[in-house]
């Protein structure tokens, strides 16, 4: 049984807790594949998505997950500018809570915002990405995808390629994978990998060729144009040349290695078309699994006892 009030990050979860969520996501995935994708499990429960940052897939994914389980879902999109001038996060959270909300799903550009909210509301809080800190449901769906395709996570070597410094996806993946004993390589320009990341139990590379050699999974991260202005990379062109994942580099991994990307992709920058269109690419399946994992999280947070039995 999931004992915590909230899901704020994978750092604080145990491997058993993560396994429980992943196990619960298996029957959830089965529901998504049915003709009639609806079960009454969370009827009478409500969920609000509170997004301070733009998002296409995560927000929709949470809303679909809630609807498939019959929860009532609403969404609140707040522009970043109104944060400074307008209502505080705590007040916004309390307002949503007193409407009778059971779960608040929050995406915020400031690291720790979900923690602030969670401390100030009785509703359960799910972190849908906070600044550069964590994106636990993305981490979970990545783990789910790897486990589904490759089995025991503890036997895997996973290379995470790209802008590690600014990536909440990287952090959640690292915490999740290392808890199961997987080996994690991080690779990217030295300006985009914090020195101290080693203390999280990963191996640091600056050569894609070396980092991906014989790995089971390559997880490619998005690189953002703003990094160029901040002097962290000279240009996207040079980034693509040195760190872009092309067929040749990808071929150094195990022949059946998975190619993953959390999206949205910069085609031709961090990943080349021939790679994301190849057979090993599981980018689309990650999105489907995202819904399953979020269903599992909603189910467990809203009172589900143990692994869901997909009978009803």
């Amino acid at each position: 049984m999931y004992q915590r009030k909230d899901l704020l990050g994978l750092k604080e979860l145990t491997a058993d807790e993560i396994s429980l969520i992943l196990d619960t996501a298996v029957p959830m995935k089965e529901i998504i594949q049915r003709d009639i994708k609806k079960v009454p499990t969370l009827r009478g429960k409500s969920m609000v998505t509170l997004f301070y940052e733009p998002s296409t897939r995560t927000k929709t994914s949470f809303e679909m997950a809630g609807k498939y389980l019959s929860a009532d879902t609403s969404s609140l999109t707040v522009s970043a500018s109104s944060v400074v001038k307008g209502e505080s996060l705590i007040d916004t959270g309390r307002t949503i809570e007193v409407m009778g909300t059971n779960v608040i799903v929050i995406r915020h550009q400031a690291a720790g915002a979900p923690h602030l909210l969670a401390k100030n509301v009785k509703a359960r809080v799910i972190n849908a990405g906070d600044g550069m800190h964590e994106h636990p449901t993305q981490g979970l769906l990545d783990l789910f995808t790897m486990r589904e395709k490759k089995g025991d996570l503890g036997n895997l070597t996973v290379a995470i390629l790209g802008d590690i410094m600014h990536s909440r996806v990287a952090r959640s993946n690292i915490w999740g994978l290392t808890k199961f004993g997987a080996k994690v390589h991080v690779v990217g320009p030295s300006t985009l990998i914090p020195k101290e990341i080693k203390q999280m139990g990963v191996k640091v590379f600056h050569s894609v060729e070396e980092a991906v050699k014989n790995v089971d999974v390559i997880n490619v991260l998005r690189v953002q144009r703003e990094r160029q202005k901040k002097g962290l990379i000279p240009s996207l062109k040079e980034y693509a040349k040195v760190f872009g994942l092309d067929k040749k580099r990808a071929s150094l991994a195990k022949p059946d290695a998975l190619i993953m990307h959390p999206g949205p992709m910069n085609r031709g920058v961090e990943i080349m078309p021939d790679v994301y269109e190849c057979e090993q690419s599981v980018v689309d399946e990650q999105v489907t699994n995202g819904v399953a994992v979020r269903m599992a999280v909603l189910y467990l947070l809203m009172g589900g006892k143990g692994v869901y039995e997909a009978t009803n």
Partner: protein
């Protein structure tokens, strides 16, 4: 009110007079009239029994933000000086980043006059180095001096332009004013929210490297050498900065430094959990940095303990970590932190502590105080080294409640603050 007060049987620490021993102190009117092993009790004398207590020259905090004028919702001269008195301070130096900035005579005069009307302790204004603390043109320093400033600082902002800093040092020297620098290279610390290290990496908060401070400390030392003018490094917080100041002192350069209680007590681990009370500039640093600050205090590299008391309104701090302003209150917790963290652990003797909390601030600011000499103003602090209490921000006199020490049980609290012979604080309560 009695005209005479006799403080009996306390352990008197008066470093300038080489005193550390049990003595009686007689105060007549506003001044200390006698210090002796035994002074007879006569009628018309208010006796304060100080057995087992520590008596020190009035403590002086040379780095305080009183926020008035302009930011009275954070703190006022009334509330801030009461916080000072409650914390055992008889004098504070107020930083000029008010609204408007204390870069002109009018604002400085206002602060002095408001302190005379409303203040519980002595207030010494610090003037701005540059106009508006913008770092571009020198403020009218002669005018500021005439108005009564005791030092110059653009605190909160560094003086980024090295040429301006050089000229400020040269010019300030004519008026015998020390320049206090908030050492930070804003390009290196750009948009950072906490110390850069493992904790910032795992919290996903942009980091401020130690180098952002060290680059500016190095520059200031070089400019102190060039101009032969004194420079005081505010809130020193890194290994490299402490080492450079130590080296500069060995070479005889006119460089002094202060450290805050939070930098000698806490590390960046306190930020885990995103409590905005831990957000401060310079940020809480690594364990090695904290150790370096402790070593600097111990070996005399760091001359002063100052709080950088920076009150903020509750609504300003109850926000996402990234959006919270920097700063924490310090006046009402510094003495027990010095006792618990430094004296009890053998980092400082009582004499060393008094030197850093009273003698050196008076010397650097060139103001009266720091001594219990006969004839000196009767500014004294009495500390009960055994008193234990839990830090409760609700009981603060400061309007700011932004402390990371909430709930800490600490030992060694001030029990009397006496300013010009008047008891302004007794047992933590302000006497009006």
């Amino acid at each position: 009110m009695y005209m005479k007060q006799l403080i009996k049987g306390g352990r008197v620490i008066d470093p300038l007079n080489g005193i550390d021993g049990v003595k009686d102190i007689l105060i007549e009117g506003k001044v200390i009239s006698q210090v002796a092993d035994q002074i007879a009790v006569t009628d018309q004398v208010n006796v304060i029994n100080a057995e087992g207590k520590i008596i020190t020259p009035g403590l002086i905090d040379m780095h305080v933000h009183l926020r008035e004028p302009g930011l009275e919702y954070k703190e006022t001269i009334y509330s801030g000086t009461r916080a000072a008195a409650a914390g055992g301070f008889t004098a504070v130096a107020s930083m000029p980043n008010t609204r408007p900035v204390a870069d002109n005579k009018a604002v400085v005069r206002f602060i002095i006059e408001q302190a005379a009307r409303d203040g519980a302790v002595k207030v010494y204004p610090i003037g701005s180095i540059t106009k508006g603390s913008q770092g571009e043109e020198l403020a009218e320093i002669a005018d500021l001096k005439e108005a009564g400033v005791v030092a110059l600082s653009d605190d909160g902002n560094p003086v980024v332009n090295s040429e301006i800093m050089r000229r400020a040092l040269e010019y300030a020297q004519m008026f015998n004013l020390t320049v206090i620098d908030h050492c930070e290279d804003p390009n290196l610390s750009a948009e950072g929210f906490m110390h850069e290290g493992y904790i910032s990496t795992l919290l996903g908060l942009r980091g401020i490297p130690a180098a952002a401070e060290e680059v500016m400390v190095a520059r200031d030392i070089i400019l102190a050498e060039l101009t032969e003018s004194p420079v005081h490094i505010a809130h020193i917080s890194t290994v490299g900065a402490v080492n450079m100041v130590r080296e500069a002192k060995k070479r005889g350069l006119p460089v002094t430094a202060e450290a805050t209680p939070h930098h000698f007590t806490l590390t960046d681990e306190a930020v885990i959990g995103y409590d905005t009370a831990t957000k401060v500039s310079p940020p809480l640093r690594s364990e090695a940095d904290k150790e370096a600050v402790l070593q600097g205090l111990k070996d005399g590299t760091i001359d002063v303990i100052a709080t950088d008391h920076a009150p903020h309104a509750r609504e300003e701090k109850e926000v996402e970590y990234a959006y919270a302003p920097n700063g924490m209150v310090g006046l009402e917790t510094v003495v027990p932190l010095v006792v618990s963290q430094l004296i009890s652990k053998g980092v400082l003797s009582w004499t060393d502590a008094v030197v850093k909390l009273s003698v050196n601030p008076a010397k650097i600011l060139n103001i009266p105080g720091g001594t219990l000499s006969v004839g000196a103003a009767a500014d004294l602090t009495i500390i009960d080294p055994e008193k234990e209490a839990v830090v409760d921000p609700k009981k603060f006199y400061s309007l700011g409640r932004n402390t990371p020490f909430k709930g800490w049980k600490l030992r060694g609290w001030p029990i009397y603050t006496i300013v010009n012979g008047q008891i302004v604080m007794k047992d933590g309560k302000i006497i009006e």
